[in-house]
């Protein structure tokens, strides 16, 4: 018996020893990257300062910037992806011909400087001289042409059939003969000429997108389909070079000493996945990482009051909204749409759920974009007005049930809703948090309460998980009011208004069956105008049209917060595109 007790006790002792293992003896000196995990600092140095002493490391030792994030990159071949987590990394490894000026959506020259002809349909681009890819090959006209031809031609040997170049299609109109870039001609080794099918105002903004960064042709030829996967990584001209990618865990980069631009100040970058929001914040507090994106509200408050941390905000390039499904008879009456718009307390929702990071939206275009219309007078929050509008529209007792206007079919052609069918009025809420909707279910509940107070009784409706929700939206089957939003890709107004309401290839069901020919024609014209002021005028008109038609209820713009260690300097949040880690350095 005694033996058992002794055993149990010794076990406890062993465990507590393991737990109390102070890092004094454990040095990770093999690391070529003298990393700075606080546990590894020899105790002798810990005593040299007071206050938050343990978190201090001499600046000379701190040569690794560790960024914590919730999910992994999908791929590092930037043409294959559309997710921010992939671009966060590819943006360090590769350069595009243009880039977005720090902290703005203005495209400025990077690998090239382009000048248009008089109607902006031919652009001549002078390439930067003496730039080399990380594999030592030259960046030149051939490399640019190789990349653009790979993307554009579906029969190009490097346009692998298994790959979807989604952004090329979205931003340049399609592949092969549908591409708005009809030719990329080599003038000389350092000059290329882009010929466009029609004038295209967002040309430079598109060039600046992370997706259209220039990869080393030699690297693509060598790796084939595996280019961009964890084993191969990517090869560009950027400030950091790819080192390794442990899938789901972290991606390591090292400074490119021969970078053509401002030389990176920190030698190593690690982009680490910490899936849990709270654990990520704790890792920042513990000093295991230097910066993070996406934190829960309580942690943000803690961060604001923590002298060791700083909170930066990324200027909003996003909009959340409530959409109407126009297959519902009642929604075709503008008075009902207005009644709903007047019933929602936008300011209340924003202050309660977005906190100080959100602003009320009156436009689809966020304020920092060209064409944002500041003169739009928003629908006032006025439940009484809502009630009288409803009464005027024939619903003096309020609205709780709606009528299907015509048969609605699913993707397979089965009738899901029949004309004349009565269904409860639903408010579909998003099943996941997105950057534009911080707490969708709670916001949905609050909106339902708003609507209820104005006599509009909605049933809060959950349409499965995120893929299910998006699928139903795509087929126009979110049959009621529904929540969604958009984050811009290239900082151009066409990427908001044109993408949603232009005469595009997209079927109208995706936008709740909303159709407005006049608006679509206006937007199609706006995208071709070379003069920004002329364009802005048209977009302002478009915003006014959307407002007058109560096409949608714009809710908010979210300036997403980032939390960094107070020692991180030079980090500028970018509204669009990857942030530039080469400017980051550590203060003492």
């Amino acid at each position: 018996m005694k033996k058992t007790t002794v055993f149990a006790f010794s076990l406890l002792i062993v465990l507590s020893m393991v737990l109390s293992a102070c890092g004094g003896t454990a040095t990770v000196t093999e690391a070529p990257t003298a990393e700075e995990t606080k546990t590894e600092v020899p105790p002798a140095e810990e005593t040299k300062t007071e206050a938050p002493a343990e978190t201090e490391a001499p600046v000379s030792q701190k040569d690794t910037f560790i960024f914590g994030r919730g999910g992994d990159s999908v791929q590092l071949d930037p043409i294959l992806v559309t997710d921010g987590e992939s671009f966060r990394v590819t943006g360090q490894i590769l350069d595009s011909l243009y880039k977005f000026e720090q902290g703005t959506t203005n495209p400025v020259p990077a690998l090239a400087e382009c000048t248009p002809n008089e109607n902006a349909s031919v652009w001549t681009c002078e390439l930067r001289e003496g730039v080399k890819f990380h594999d030592g090959t030259d960046f030149n006209a051939d490399a640019v042409i190789f990349n653009f031809e790979r993307w554009r031609f579906t029969d190009n040997p490097y346009h692998f059939p298994s790959q979807v170049f989604e952004y090329y299609e979205a931003m340049w109109g399609g592949f092969d003969e549908n591409s708005k870039i009809t030719a990329v001609n080599k003038i000389d080794d350092l000059t290329v000429e882009f010929v466009l099918a029609e004038p295209m105002a967002p040309f430079l903004a598109n060039l600046a997108m992370d997706s259209f960064a220039i990869s080393s042709p030699a690297a693509i030829q060598a790796a084939g389909e595996a280019y961009g996967t964890p084993t191969v990584g990517a090869v560009g001209t950027g400030p950091y070079k790819f080192v390794s990618w442990e899938e789901g865990t972290e991606i390591k980069l090292v400074a490119n000493e021969d970078y053509w631009g401002e030389k990176p100040k920190v030698k190593n970058v690690i982009v680490r996945v910490i899936p849990d929001d709270s654990a990520r914040f704790l890792a920042l507090q513990a000093g295991d990482i230097d910066a993070l994106e996406q934190a829960v509200v309580e942690d943000l408050e803690t961060a604001e009051n923590d002298p060791n941390l700083q909170v930066l905000t990324r200027p909003a390039l996003n909009t959340s909204y409530i959409a109407f499904n126009f297959k519902i008879e009642e929604f075709r009456d503008i008075r009902i749409r207005e009644a709903i718009a007047h019933a929602i307390d936008k300011q209340g929702l924003i202050s309660n759920f977005y906190g100080k990071y959100g602003t009320v939206a009156t436009n689809f275009l966020p304020p920092l974009l060209l064409g944002h219309n500041p003169d739009i007078e928003d629908w006032a929050y006025d439940p009484e007005l809502s009630k009288s509008l409803l009464a005027e529209a024939g619903f003096p007792d309020g609205l709780s049930e709606v009528t299907i206007a015509e048969d609605v079919m699913d993707a397979d052609g089965n009738v899901v809703y029949t004309a004349g069918q009565k269904i409860p009025l639903r408010l579909y809420y998003m099943p996941v948090t997105r950057f534009y909707f911080p707490a969708p279910k709670e916001i949905g509940e609050a909106m339902a309460a708003n609507l209820n107070a104005a006599g509009i009784k909605v049933e809060l409706y959950l349409e499965g998980d995120w893929p299910t929700y998006l699928g139903a939206r795509r087929n126009g089957l979110l049959m009621g009011l529904y929540m969604l939003g958009w984050g811009g890709d290239n900082g151009d107004p066409d990427n908001f208004l044109g993408y949603f309401f232009g005469n595009a290839q997209e079927p109208v069901q995706m936008e709740g069956w909303y159709q407005n020919k006049e608006l679509a024609d206006l937007l199609d014209l706006a995208v071709t105008l070379p003069d920004p002021e002329e364009r802005a005028e048209l977009y302002r008109q478009a915003e006014q049209m959307l407002h007058d038609d109560v096409a949608r209820i714009w809710l908010g713009h979210n300036n997403t917060p980032l939390i960094l260690s107070i020692k991180v300097q030079g980090y500028v949040p970018q509204p669009v595109g990857a942030e530039n880690f080469e400017y980051v350095f550590f203060s003492e």
Binding site: M1, L19, E169, A170, E247, R272, D288, P467, T468, E506
Partner: protein, 350 residues
């Protein structure tokens, strides 16, 4: 015995086929398209169609009835499941839909991390749970017994995410003793042999590597071990109590054998059978159920990966990992059954 094991191994095959069928069916019953899940708000008609075609998702899930009506027998069998099964026979689990890399590669990379964590958690559960369970039964209604019963009740009911966050808050943020997550510090390398880092560090004589890996694994292992420790403690205790009431125990005590001999020689062996069963089940659920622990501690295992894959409708990953876990589970159960025969000679499988 040999014949029995062979027989059991053969019955594994139809079970596994059943597993593939069920997981295939259930995944396709969840609405939501992998292509839409992948493309998000951007999903265009054309791209969705292209991805569906590439991964054969445009084919019917099981059998193509329309083709049979037209008398096209090859077309009848040209379904997602048949294609999947055909690949499986060639040991090909397919490629991830989102990342386009072979599922097998990722399993090779991530499964060892899960195994390592599960084994260590199990080890902790055994060396804590069994002695405490025995002690508690031997000293029934004593203070130790009371503490054990309350402790194990807390253990089974404690929320893992809370415990994990508390561990990080205390040991990483406040005391700064342990890293808040991951498997190794940046810059630290351990030469891979088995990909179980602790073992590899020992095998290659890498002292600092072992220490670093241990510091990373200890918090998640304790979090993951909490529930099995509590369950094993309770099971050992109640099973011991049952056995201690048996006549032969009284006989043994009556003829003057010491308490230790009675407990360990006579009681424990018999009390162990139900405990072994529980251990078998727990190993299975440790392997499959580490999602929360892996998420909180950014542990690069399969738990979080599969969870994300289910949400993203990445069918090949979910199928591959489910199959793998089924295989492990069946093998563990086989081992459990074999150990019965060893522990209790009266049990025969012939």
């Amino acid at each position: 015995m040999g014949k029995y094991i062979l027989k059991r191994l053969i019955t594994v095959i139809p079970t596994l086929i059943g597993v593939t069928l069920i997981i295939f069916l259930f995944q396709r019953l969840i609405p939501g398209d992998p292509a839409v899940a992948m493309l998000g708000e951007h999903a265009s008609e054309e791209n969705v169609a292209r991805i569906r075609e590439q991964f054969g998702l445009d084919k019917p899930p099981f059998l193509n009835r329309d083709a049979l009506v037209e008398g096209d027998l090859a077309g009848f069998f040209d379904s997602q499941y048949v294609r999947y099964f055909d690949r499986l026979l060639h040991f090909d689990l397919g490629d991830s839909i989102h990342r386009r890399i072979p599922v097998v590669d990722t399993i090779k990379e991530r499964f060892p991390a899960t195994i390592e964590l599960a084994l260590l958690a199990m080890l902790i559960a055994l060396i804590v749970g069994i002695p405490i369970g025995i002690l508690s039964a031997a000293r029934r209604n004593s203070l130790i017994d009371g503490v054990t019963r309350i402790g194990s009740l807390i253990g089974v009911s404690i929320p893992i995410f809370w415990l994990g966050i508390m561990e990080i808050m205390f040991f990483s943020v406040m005391l700064k003793w342990l890293p808040s997550g991951g498997r190794l510090s940046p810059g630290m390398t351990i030469e891979p042999v088995t990909n179980l880092l602790l073992l590899d560090a020992l095998l290659t004589g890498n002292g600092p590597g072992f220490w670093d890996a241990l510091k990373h694994i200890i918090m998640p292992a304790i979090a993951l071990a909490t529930i099995p420790t509590a369950i094993i403690t309770r099971m050992t205790r109640s099973s011991m109590l049952d056995v201690l009431q048996e006549d032969y125990i009284r006989t043994a005590s009556a003829k003057g054998l010491g308490e230790r001999v009675v407990l360990f020689r006579h009681a424990l062996k018999n009390a162990f059978l139900p405990v072994i069963t529980i251990i078998g089940i727990q190993i299975g659920s440790l392997l499959a159920g580490g999602v929360l622990t892996e998420t909180i501690f950014s542990w690069p295992g399969i738990g979080k990966w599969v969870y994300d894959s289910i949400l993203g409708r990445d069918y090949p990953i979910v199928q591959g990992v489910t199959l793998l876990i089924a295989v492990v589970f069946l093998l563990v159960n086989l081992l459990v059954d074999i150990s019965y025969a060893i522990l209790d000679p009266r049990i025969s499988y012939e």
